[in-house]
Amino acid sequence: MELKGIGSDLGLGAAFPEVSGTKSTSAVEGAGKFFSELVSKVNDMQMQSDQAIQGLATGENKNLHEVMISMEKASISFQFLAQVRNKAVEAYQEVMRMQV
């Protein structure tokens, strides 16, 4: 009788098929790139809001509501960034808690 190990079609190998095309280096790079892009976009929002406040203070921009809305946009996108960061840290900690 032939015994098949976990590497065969029936064992864990079937549950976790090898995915081709995802190399670890590119994944790390991708995540880093994604985060730095996200941070720079949120930073852009904050800069826009800063400029709007400055414009209001110097009398260049006379629309109070535009400043308030750009501040809200900056705040929401920052909270989104914080939420993404929390999720990433959570995932990292989950991995670190894994028993080897």
């Binding site: 509501h65 809305i69 809200e72 929401i76």
Partner: protein
């Protein structure tokens, strides 16, 4: 980002309502102005609102069908009320004509007050829309918590 487009629409409406409010202030302030740089009494001014397509960063083609139908509002024109001036008998006034009548602006203060209530209520409605969009966005972020 689609979440912010509703905020942009509300922002355009707030700008438009502010313009309307400015015109109402101007009408009320000049309710008895008999002289203008153009000559004659002040004429009541009103804003013409028009719906314009929301300008999008990625062009119209990439927008969803619903996204293409959204319109923001813009004040495209400010028109003068062409009704004749109100003639008031006041011979002692320096702008009185030979019959002793003064041409007063065609501004009806009560009408302006009603317009003002309408403008400030619309403004409030749009502020509420911004707040609703914001709380929707924040509620969405709570999904991750």
């Amino acid at each position: 980002m689609d979440f912010f487009s509703s905020m942009n629409i509300s922002s355009s409406a707030l700008t438009a309502e502010r313009t309307r409010m400015n015109l109402i202030s101007s009408n009320l302030a000049n309710a008895s102005a008999t002289r203008t740089p153009e000559g004659g009494p002040y004429k009541r001014k009103d804003a013409v609102f028009s719906a314009t397509p929301l300008e999008s960063r990625f062009g119209r083609a990439l927008d969803s069908a619903a996204g293409q139908q959204t319109r923001q509002v813009e004040v495209t024109e400010i028109v003068e009320d062409q009704n004749p001036p109100r003639m008031q008998y006041d011979p002692s006034h320096p702008d009185a004509n030979a019959q002793g009548y003064v041409a007063m602006p065609n501004v009806n203060v009560v009408e302006e007050m009603a317009d003002m209530i309408s403008a400030s209520r619309s403004y409030e409605a749009n502020v509420t829309a911004v707040q609703a969009a914001k709380s929707m966005a924040l509620k969405t972020l709570e999904i991750g918590k």
